[in-house]
């Protein structure tokens, strides 16, 4: 997995609550069998007009959002379907960090599996970031630092965030979780020996 230590990049604000994974990547794009190539389909129904051209109203299509790599958005981002295609699409598009007051459970875990940092800030802090992004002319930049667990800009904004140490270490070092678990093979095998396991392949 790609490590995440610190990242500085342009911000795009998507001030909406409860953005679900059906919006992040609609179902017609889930038929690929690769992990890559989802970027062009990110937010498809919002991003493009029916004639296929970019919808100028949509936040990501604003000139100041060109090349954005930090998404600031509303609460409960990533709710709905468990599709990991959602973080793949966000990452493929170029996002490295997501900032919101809260994330849906499965989505949060999926981001961590892909080196895409989900940052939970207070509602007021997120509102302030959205204000700053919308007020800026020519693009607004943020620094997201997982080592120090801070989010800051050059105009005085600074906030701290939490992340459990297991996930943080995985992201900081870009560790392979499967490899980490496989090192515990002896423990897993002992667990299997000492329990009465339910029969899955039955007597049919």
């Amino acid at each position: 997995m790609q490590a995440f230590k610190t990242h500085s990049g342009r911000v795009v604000a998507l001030p909406r609550a409860d953005v679900d994974t059906d919006q992040i990547i609609p179902k017609q794009f889930l038929k690929r069998i690769e992990r890559t190539g989802f970027g062009p389909s990110l937010f498809f129904d919002w991003r493009y007009r029916p004639d296929g051209l970019p919808n100028p109203e949509f936040e990501l299509n604003h000139p100041d959002a060109a090349g954005a790599s930090v998404l600031v958005t509303g609460p409960n981002f990533g709710c709905g379907s468990s599709r990991e295609h959602a973080p793949w699409a966000l990452h493929d598009y170029g996002f490295r960090a997501l900032i919101a007051p809260s994330f849906a459970d499965i989505f949060y875990g999926n981001c961590c599996q892909n080196g895409l940092l989900p940052v939970v800030l207070q509602e007021g802090e997120v509102a302030e970031l959205i204000r700053r992004a919308e007020a800026s002319v020519g693009g607004y930049e943020l620094n997201v630092d997982l080592i120090e667990r801070t989010v800051s800009d050059t105009a005085g904004f600074a906030a701290r965030f939490q992340m459990d140490s297991y996930r943080r270490e995985m992201l900081l070092r870009g560790l392979d979780e499967i490899g980490r678990t496989l090192e515990l093979e002896a423990g897993i095998a002992a667990f299997e020996r000492h329990r009465s396991e339910p029969a899955v392949r039955g007597v049919s």
């Binding site: 909406r16 609550a17 409860d18 679900d20 059906d22 919006q23 609609p26 179902k27 017609q28 889930l30 038929k31 690929r32 069998i33 690769e34 992990r35 129904d45 509303g74 609460p75 409960n76 709710c79 709905g80 379907s81 468990s82 599709r83 990991e84 973080p87 809260s102 849906a104 459970d105 499965i106 875990g109 999926n110 599996q113 892909n114 459990d164 140490s165 297991y166 979780e177 499967i178 678990t181 496989l182 515990l184 423990g187 897993i188 667990f191 299997e192 329990r195 009465s196 396991e197 339910p198 029969a199 899955v200 392949r201 039955g202 007597v203 049919s204």
Partner: protein, 476 residues
């Protein structure tokens, strides 16, 4: 004395292989949990198998994994090849992956094929006390049996394939008590929609819900599955119901449940799977099931629901500025005006099916409404059984004739218009009465407008051509 434990704690604790991370009070770190049953479908698994292959890793316990095709399979004529090339490639990829790794697969023409959350329980693969995972958020369905069952991402699918374990932060628990006996015409779907409406679509984030109370005890397994299925729509990690006589009666003689003495032993083990008196849930909520009216959604998430007797709400009355904004957006998308009565709202399409309401009891409920009546002119209504077994049983009972004679389409099993990955989709602007679980923008087709409701309500809507209160429709 033993500390009283919740149902969740009992299942969780018996599956912890070891703990990971800091292990401090503030930062306990996740647990490595053993997985008893891993279910796999074609959409969220190809990248996981590919990952294993690239790393030169093996499937650790192929006999604990079961695969089926459901999400993008056609529900029309099964003798024809899948017309959509990319969908065909995805199905073929699962077939190849299963064969290469020794995983049992229910392919398109298998008699046990069906939606992953329908076939697990009906084959008896799903059993009380298990930890069950699947790359699908509605894995919460299996919690109806007193299993701890939750959806995972594709990277985690790969992790489970390789290690038979999953790394999980310990969730908190919330008791949801449905007291009282629901009135005639009130279904499990109404109970769960009422809960989501009450606590919101993120109201249970970080929690496992344990459903208790008279109304839950009185439900069939199908009804309990409907409720656990939609736990995820309140943001919950999982939903659970303690196994009881109803559970055991459902499981007895299923193809994959134990027989004879082994069955007796299993039942006695399963009988201890209930929250001890005095066990603490971190939160609890009580809903009077006896007071509920049929629920329908009017907006673009499952919490945007109301009694069928109510009107489309006015965004001006919303509790907060954020709600006002999302209500306004939702009404615009749904093409609804505040104050319009929900009853009488015209529909173009009706969808009966999905892992929420595609089981035999759901079809029986709906058929009661359809029998001897006709689908309203201009309405297209389809019935998509949740599995081949459900379809066969329905045909044995003659439900298919009730539906087809009334003008419903009788189709082959799959997810179908629940998410519209195959050709079953809404056209832009079409309004649909649906028994599925998500009314998100575009979920059933770009520009399509979904109203969620129970099977009987959806069938009645097909006959009347509009949303109706099923209570005025029940035959004696």
């Amino acid at each position: 004395m033993m500390v009283p434990r919740t149902l969740f704690e009992k299942v969780w604790q018996s599956h912890v292989v070891t703990t990971r991370g800091a292990g401090t009070r503030d930062d306990p770190g996740p647990a490595l949990l053993y997985v008893d049953l891993h279910l796999v479908h074609e959409v969220t698994s190809p990248q996981a198998f590919e990952g294993l292959r690239l790393a030169g890793r093996k499937v650790r316990r192929p006999e604990l994994t079961v695969a089926t095709v459901d999400h993008n399979v056609p529900t029309g004529d099964r003798r024809l090849p899948i017309a959509d090339e990319t969908a065909a490639r995805q199905v073929a990829t699962l077939v190849r992956n299963a064969r290469e790794t020794g995983i049992e697969l229910f392919d398109l023409d298998a008699p046990d094929q069906g939606i992953v959350h329908v076939i697990g329980p009906e084959l008896g693969l799903t059993q009380p006390g298990m930890v069950i995972v699947c790359g699908d958020s509605h894995t919460s369905t299996h919690g109806a049996f007193g299993a701890l069952a939750f959806g995972i991402g594709t990277s985690e699918v790969e992790h489970v394939l390789a290690t038979q374990c999953i790394v999980q932060n310990r969730p908190r628990t919330m008791e949801v008590r449905f007291s009282g006996v629901p009135a005639a015409g009130i279904a499990a779907k109404d109970l769960i929609l009422a809960l989501i409406r009450r606590i919101g679509i993120a109201g249970a984030t970080g929690y496992v819900l344990e459903y208790t109370g008279e109304a839950i005890e009185g439900l069939s397994m199908e009804g309990r599955m409907t409720i656990c299925n939609m736990s995820i729509e309140a943001g919950a990690r999982a939903g659970m119901v303690a196994p009881d006589a109803t559970t055991f009666a459902y499981l007895q003689s299923r193809p994959r449940t134990p027989r004879g003495e082994a069955w007796e032993r299993a039942v006695s083990r399963w009988s201890s799977l209930r929250s001890d008196p005095g066990a603490d849930h971190e939160r609890s909520i009580r809903i009077d099931a006896a007071a509920l009216a049929p629920q329908v959604t009017w907006g673009t998430n499952p919490a945007m629901a109301a009694d069928i007797t109510e009107r489309v709400p006015d965004p001006a009355d919303a509790a907060s500025e954020a709600d006002r904004l999302s209500y306004r957006r939702a009404l615009e998308y749904m093409d609804l005006r505040p104050g319009t009565p929900l009853e009488g709202l015209r529909v173009d399409r009706v969808f009966l099916g999905s892992c929420t309401n595609g089981r035999i009891e759901d079809l029986r409920d709906a058929a009661t409404m359809a029998r001897g009546r006709n689908v309203a002119p201009g309405v297209r209504a389809m019935v998509v059984p949740g599995s081949q077994r459900v379809k066969t049983e329905a045909e044995r009972e003659g439900l298919d004739r009730d539906f087809t004679e009334a003008g419903f389409e009788w189709r082959n099993p799959g997810c179908s218009m629940c998410l519209g990955m195959n050709e079953d989709i809404l056209l832009p602007g079409e309004r649909c009465a649906s028994t599925s679980n998500r009314n998100f923008e575009g979920r059933q087709g770009k520009g399509g407008r979904t109203h969620l409701m129970s099977p009987a309500m959806a069938a009645a809507a097909a006959v009347e051509g509009c949303l109706v209160d099923v209570r005025g429709y029940i035959r004696s």
